[in-house]
Amino acid sequence: MTFDKITLAHGAGGSMSHELMDKIIDPVIGNPALEVFHDGARLSPGGDIAFTTDSYVVNPRFFPGGNIGKLSVCGTVNDLAMTGAEPIGLSLALIIEEGFPVAELQEILHTIKNAADEAGVSIVTGDTKVVGNGSADGLFINTAGVGRIIDGTDIAPSNIRPGMDIIISGTIGDHAATVMASRHGIDIPDSLKSDCAPLNGLASKMLKAVPEIACMRDPTRGGVAATLNELAQQSGVGMLLDEESLPVREETRGVSDILGFDVLELANEGKLLAFCPHERTEELLSVMHGHKYGREACVIGKTIDKAAGEVGLRTALGSIRVVGMPMGAIVPRIC
């Protein structure tokens, strides 16, 4: 390697840009689709396709359990998975701030490669831009993904009906608790880390075993509270959660208590919510428990024929309160 910082010249499209591609990016994430070196990728999906995109701007870039690169792959793969699709190709666009350390970029690229490998998908096209000092916060990543819809699945909020079980694939809030703790300098035990993971394997196993799953969604920004509120509104169905059934790690509970957060509003990056007809729940849970990202799956509530479009929570004390849509960015309390 002959350079250790990204410069504006690396984004100028000339020989320096090629050097960045040839020496830094391609050695890590190169694959036959990229080797065509064409303006776009040619894919042969067959059947219905799903298409999604997401941009990643996270502070800090590295956190226990992952980094911005892992997020950028898992986030897009998971969006495809929640649409009922198997990913067949991802794009990767990097917006790099001038002066960004090449060593850090390489580490992030390796993480991207590993996450894509785990999800069984390749980066089939990409782009790199370098912006001046101060024009970006280090590194922004955009990924888009194309996926093939799994035969026989029909995932849509409008399929949600009263009388279904609401299932979560594991513990709630670990990602946001980890990132917030890193950001606020709270010491956390090694046991608490981001849950960032590709969920396509789990989701496709679930859909193949129980195609009656009405809807799935990954509760990322805004957490379970935001996702369920969206789905309640979109489906016009009421939902009632049971506080005592919510799987929450003690460490996550501790961090959110210190900072004054509601775990239901904390982002997850490796969890999914599924709506399943009650009579198929047992089978679905047994399938989920057999996958490494679904071992702690459980029922956290049900859809009801009251309170259309609203989400409620039966508290540990036995009363019921509204689970509101989170309001704006979550910030720690002041006191």
Partner: protein
């Protein structure tokens, strides 16, 4: 005692209407999250007091902060909650969007780095919060002094809890039968500071933690005292709250700050209810080093935040609540802060639907 036993006891003892006030925004939110109100008998009413530090901050303080933010040689550092708080004419968030250098910090200590990295700028921290947050601000000043940092300043609007409780009681309108005392604040101040409730007002107070059961036990103990005609200060958060509080934190606080008259939104000026920097630390006080004079005429609004903060009206009694004033477009500060009374009522308190 388990929750149902506590509730049963509360029901039996509450033979007349009882009004309890929680004086802490975190309690307000915890009470809503636990759904406590729905469980209590009709004649035990919980009202929220002036316990959200952002909410009680006066317009004039925000006007000054905005004025500082617009100065070329100033960086304003603040907790994120303050950005949306309306001043008389605009907000810090609007100033930031217009190009003012406003940085969000998670602790006043973060300002030390900002000051080091920007030696040619004056870094002004908006020092708000009660006895809980003020020691950290004081420690930041001491750390700046020790490190020889000369471009870090405080714009202080710290508030003290006991004086505002006195003002509410003296005002005679709040009709409070007992106080749920603020757990975090008492960690610093201790319970002794609340002895005046017993001695001067014959009103009970119980320090509570933030778990649903801790709050329930505090309510139980208050109702029991009231039903027996007693008025003691009790501690239901004994694991972390001592009678003397945290002497080290109090010492740091009083090294840097001294009590002063302070303005509370909607309530007005209350003697010795705020903190100002002592003479020895004037060089860290931006209002001394670089005074601004923003005396804008008070704005006219139907917002009833001031009365809400004193427990005189419920948020729903404000004509703006849930209509012109919602979290996304807040008119009053009580709707802005995550711990604001109106925001909590709006988010958790709307009993528009039955789930059973």
């Amino acid at each position: 005692m388990a929750a149902d036993e506590l509730l049963d006891g509360i029901r039996k003892m509450a033979v007349r209407p009882i009004r309890l006030m929680e004086v802490c925004g975190t309690h307000t939110v915890s009470i809503f999250r636990a759904g406590l109100r729905q469980l209590l008998p009709q004649n035990v009413e919980l009202v929220s007091g002036p316990g959200c530090p952002v909410c009680v901050t006066a317009d004039s303080f925000m006007d000054d902060a905005i004025e500082y933010a617009h100065k070329d040689d100033v960086i304003v550092a603040t907790f994120g909650d303050m950005l949306k708080i309306p001043g008389t004419k605009s907000s810090l968030g609007e100033a930031k969007a217009e190009g003012a250098d406003v940085r969000i910090v998670y602790s006043s200590m973060d300002c030390l780095d900002i000051a080091r990295e920007n030696p040619d700028k004056k870094v002004v921290f908006l020092a708000v919060g009660f006895e809980t947050t003020a020691p950290t601000a004081a420690a930041t000043v001491l750390a700046a002094k020790a490190a020889g940092i000369i471009n870090l300043y405080m714009l202080s609007a710290h508030k003290l809890v006991p004086p505002v409780m006195r003002a509410l009681l003296d005002g005679g309108k709040a009709r409070v039968d007992g106080f749920i005392l603020p757990g975090h604040v008492c960690v610093v101040t201790g319970t002794n500071e609340y002895q005046f409730l017993t001695d001067e007002y014959h009103i009970p107070g119980v320090v509570a933690g933030f778990e649903p059961l801790q709050l329930m036990r505090a309510i139980y103990r208050l109702v029991r005292q009231i039903s027996l005609g007693e008025a003691r200060v009790e501690n239901e958060y004994g694991d972390v709250v001592e009678p003397d509080g945290n002497p080290r934190a109090r010492q740091i606080l009083s090294e840097v700050y001294e009590p002063c008259e302070a303005e509370w939104r909607g309530i007005g000026k209350i003697p010795a209810s705020g903190l100002r920097m002592r003479e020895a630390y004037k060089d860290y006080d931006i209002s001394y080093v670089m005074p601004v004079h923003t005396s804008l005429p008070p704005k006219k609004t139907a917002c009833r935040c001031g009365e809400v903060l004193q427990g005189l009206v419920k948020p729903e009694e404000c004509p703006l609540f849930g209509k012109a004033c919602v979290p996304e477009h807040a008119v009053g500060p009580c709707m802005v802060s995550v711990e604001g009374v109106c925001a909590a009522w709006y988010k958790y308190g709307r009993n528009r639907f039955t789930f059973e």
